[in-house]
């Protein structure tokens, strides 16, 4: 039943006195999946507001000096894309219940994420050495803020990844592993999209 028809339901006793019991909650997804979707919705708000502030600050001030985007950002982007692909493959293997396939792809995906985070750190250090300090210009501050908050979300994801990897190594409870891999894959795809938006914004401003 669609949400709108659910909201049109008349719960009070009908005139003929009949009580027809409706099916309870319509469960399409597991609670953890719904939880993740709510979480993603919430952090979409977070990133949207950050990007609005980014544009707002460019428009409101007249002191914006664009940051030169370090070339390594391109490599980082490629690494994150490959990480997302590996998660996708792990998810496919999970759906087919192939534990070895999950293990390999999950490991690759996690290591690539570490690679991405290292690359982002290098990019920041390069800018810092060139004298683009955080307090010099709002463009610099936003560069560190956006990449930092995005990285923090990936680091949070890595904790879940580590727990999943541990479960896969032990090979216990395939049902739980499947759910975890599924959720990790959705989360990583989401953060890839967020990064691509941030990256395009950094390149164009």
């Amino acid at each position: 039943m669609s949400i709108l028809s659910q909201l049109r339901e008349k719960p009070w006793p009908q005139s003929n006195g009949a009580t027809v019991l409706k099916v309870g909650p319509s469960i399409l997804r597991t609670p953890t999946e719904v939880g993740l979707l709510f979480f993603l919705a919430s952090i979409t708000g977070l990133f949207t507001l950050l990007l609005i502030s980014y544009n707002g600050r460019i428009l409101l001030g007249n002191d914006w000096v664009p940051v030169p985007d370090p070339a390594i950002l391109w490599i980082n982007t490629a690494i994150l894309i490959f990480s997302s692909i590996a998660f996708h493959r792990a998810r496919k293997h999970a759906q087919a219940s192939k534990v070895i396939g999950i293990r390999k792809n999950l490991l690759v995906a996690g290591l690539l994420t570490f690679g991405f985070l290292s690359g982002q750190t290098i990019a920041s250090l390069q800018l810092y050495e060139l004298g683009y300090y955080v307090s010099n210009n709002p463009a610099n501050a936003f560069f560190y803020l956006l990449t930092g908050i995005h990285a923090l979300h990936l680091i949070g994801g890595l904790f879940v990844w580590m727990r999943t990897q541990y479960r896969v190594q032990l090979g216990v409870d395939l049902r739980k592993i499947k759910v975890s891999v599924e959720l990790c894959a959705i989360y990583w795809h989401y953060l890839l999209v967020v990064w691509l938006i941030i990256f395009v914004l950094l390149l164009t401003t």
């Binding site: 909201l7 719960p11 009949a18 019991l21 909650p25 609670p31 709510f38 803020l145």
Partner: protein, 587 residues
């Protein structure tokens, strides 16, 4: 009467594994049981709320009797104002309604054993407690807590000269960041439990309005708090790393600070994009609770249940497009102000609808003037009063002269201070027997109600007048002005005396709470004869896992009161239709 067809659908998901505590510590301290977490949240919120209350007394002492108390200076006064506001809005009301009532009522009312993510739920409380401790710590750093006003507007929030611009503001912002992280963990629980863990038969439209209110408020919070998070992080950057997100070119101590171009108005937009939904994060659970308590104590179905649900959703949606009505004097484009004035007035429609429906629920009801009911009726009146002054302030041309006067203070205290607090009292008197198995003392309850209710009006009605004559808010001392008559000082003294009397009534309430827990009259099961599931548990008060061996099945909505064809004047949601005693049909 047509025969009743009951088809019990099979459960769609296996039951969630219930976490069982293995030791005293995991049962009562690091507990994953939503009811224990609810008590922890409520206890912490009430304790920090008492700090906020004492701060308001100190403020009132200064305003009522200026140049009398040597221990209150200008800086301290501003710090009291700031911390009082922040504590009451965020750390008391939000935490108590969502963390306290949300945790206690949602699983019980929707027929679940617990929240869906108990571990995250536990973390949510401990992170909340950490944020409260950080806030309290700011009282003890050099310079004291921030005195920037609860809105923390830059640039003055972080420039020297404002009290607490050293460590105070940093701890305030860090505390908010932790609060938001903790809330998000709890909020995901509340929303997903409502969507995924309801008992069989409990369709969305079978849910009690309390659950609806808390559910929609949680969603608002999940979308609104990120704005405060962004604003807090950016301001922390400005304060610690000398960036200029919000800091324009400015003179500090006679020297130009090495920053420019930042926009204080950007902060205001971020803050109020959080701040206005925050009003409804507090109000919507209150709306829900009041609906259920009124219906129970008037023995009558809530009037217009669907409209009530739709109104909650509509108010929730609209609350995201009214934020700039807090910023009419920030120099915005008049067309922009016109837009926000329009949306602000539109939000009065679903809100008024709710007020009519509460009144119509009382109409020809079998009204029991119990203490919870008294609080609910007081809420209806107070919310109406506060709402009507909101219509004044929602109009740009009326708001501009009244901006930053005591009129605004009176308005928002009526509408989102006093009114929701009344509902919290209603809810405590209503659900105290459920949580403790004891009744609160009625005489002390009546005393608490009448003194608080009458006192609140004696405090805030004169305050509207003070605002009209131009008494500004946030001023340590008015001194002698040409436009404020000397009688304002007498009125201020009167208000302060009323504040202290109402404060005394709260002491009586706390005493009542504490003594009733230990030596109160034992409550019978379901003392108010309510229909909702929280009163239908196998144990009373409900134990771990809430509902014995089998989860309840829901056969009807939560408002089956006084139906003429039934023998009893109420039928709980989980009673099988064949077991409902019907009156014989007259031939």
């Amino acid at each position: 009467m047509a025969s009743e067809t009951v088809v019990i659908p099979p459960a769609e998901l296996p039951e969630v594994e219930l976490y069982h505590a293995k030791s005293w510590i995991t049962k009562y301290v690091f507990s994953q049981d939503a009811k224990v977490i609810a008590i922890q949240y409520s206890g912490t919120a009430v304790l920090i709320g008492l700090v906020g209350l004492v701060l308001s007394w100190l403020m009132r002492l200064q305003l009522g009797f200026p140049e009398t108390f040597s221990f209150i200076d200008e800086s301290e006064y501003l710090q009291y104002v700031t911390l009082h506001g922040m504590i009451m809005v965020v750390y008391l009301l939000t935490a108590l309604f969502l963390g306290g009532f949300g945790n206690y009522m949602i699983p019980l009312m929707v027929g679940a054993r617990d929240m869906v993510f108990p571990y995250a739920n536990m973390l949510s409380f401990w992170i909340y407690l950490l944020s409260v401790l950080i806030l309290v710590a700011s009282f003890f750093v050099p310079g004291g807590p921030t005195g920037a006003g609860w809105t923390l507007y830059p640039p003055q929030a972080i420039t020297s000269g404002t009290p607490g611009s050293d460590g105070g503001i940093i701890l305030m912002l860090v505390s908010l960041v932790f609060f938001i992280i903790g809330f998000t963990m709890g909020g995901l629980n509340y929303a997903v439990t409502v969507l995924q863990a309801r008992a069989r038969g409990m369709t969305l439209m079978m849910m009690p309005l309390t659950v609806w209110g808390i559910f929609v408020a949680t969603i608002l919070a999940l979308f609104a708090f990120p704005a405060l998070l962004v604003a807090s992080i950016m301001m922390l950057f400005d304060r610690i790393l000398d960036t200029s997100f919000f800091i324009p070119m400015i003179y500090e101590m006679g020297e130009v600070i090495p920053r420019e171009g930042g926009s204080p108005v950007l902060f205001q937009h971020l803050f109020w994009f959080f701040g206005h939904p925050e009003v409804y994060i507090v109000a919507l659970p209150a709306f829900g609770i009041v609906s259920d308590v009124i219906s129970t104590h008037a023995r009558k179905a809530i009037f217009g249940y669907r409209m009530m649900v739709w109104a909650i959703i509509a108010i929730g949606g609209l609350s995201f497009i009214v934020w700039a009505h807090h910023m009419y004097v920030s120099g915005m484009n008049p067309y922009f102000g016109f837009f926000f004035a329009t949306t602000t007035l539109i939000i009065a429609i679903p809100t008024a609808l709710k007020l009519y429906n509460w009144t119509l629920t009382l109409w020809k009801g079998n009204i029991h003037m119990t203490v919870p009911m008294l609080w609910c009726i007081a809420f209806i009146v107070t919310f109406l009063n506060g709402g009507v002054t909101g219509l004044f302030l929602g109009n740009v041309s009326v708001d501009v002269p009244l901006s930053d006067t005591m009129f605004v203070v009176a308005h928002f205290h009526m509408v989102m201070g006093v009114a929701p607090i009344f509902v919290i009292f209603a809810a405590i008197y209503h659900w105290f027997p459920l949580a403790t198995g004891k009744m609160l003392n009625n005489a002390m309850g009546q005393f608490h109600f009448w003194v608080t209710f009458v006192g609140a009006y004696l405090i805030y009605f004169p305050m509207h007048y003070l605002g009209f004559v131009g008494v500004p808010r946030r001023y340590y001392e008015i001194g002698e002005t040409t436009f404020v008559p000397p009688s304002a000082a007498d009125l201020n003294a009167f208000i302060t005396i009323m504040v202290l009397i109402v404060g005394f009534a709260q002491v009586v309430f706390i005493y009542n709470l504490l003594t009733s827990i230990f030596s109160g009259k034992k409550s019978e099961v379901n003392p108010w004869k309510a229909t909702t599931l929280e009163w239908q548990t196998s144990e009373f008060p409900p134990g771990h896992g809430n509902f014995g061996d089998e989860l309840p099945v829901v056969y009807r909505w939560a408002y089956e009161y006084g139906a003429p064809e039934n023998v009893d004047d109420y039928v709980p949601q989980n009673i099988h239709p064949d077991k409902v005693a019907r009156k014989p049909i007259a031939e």
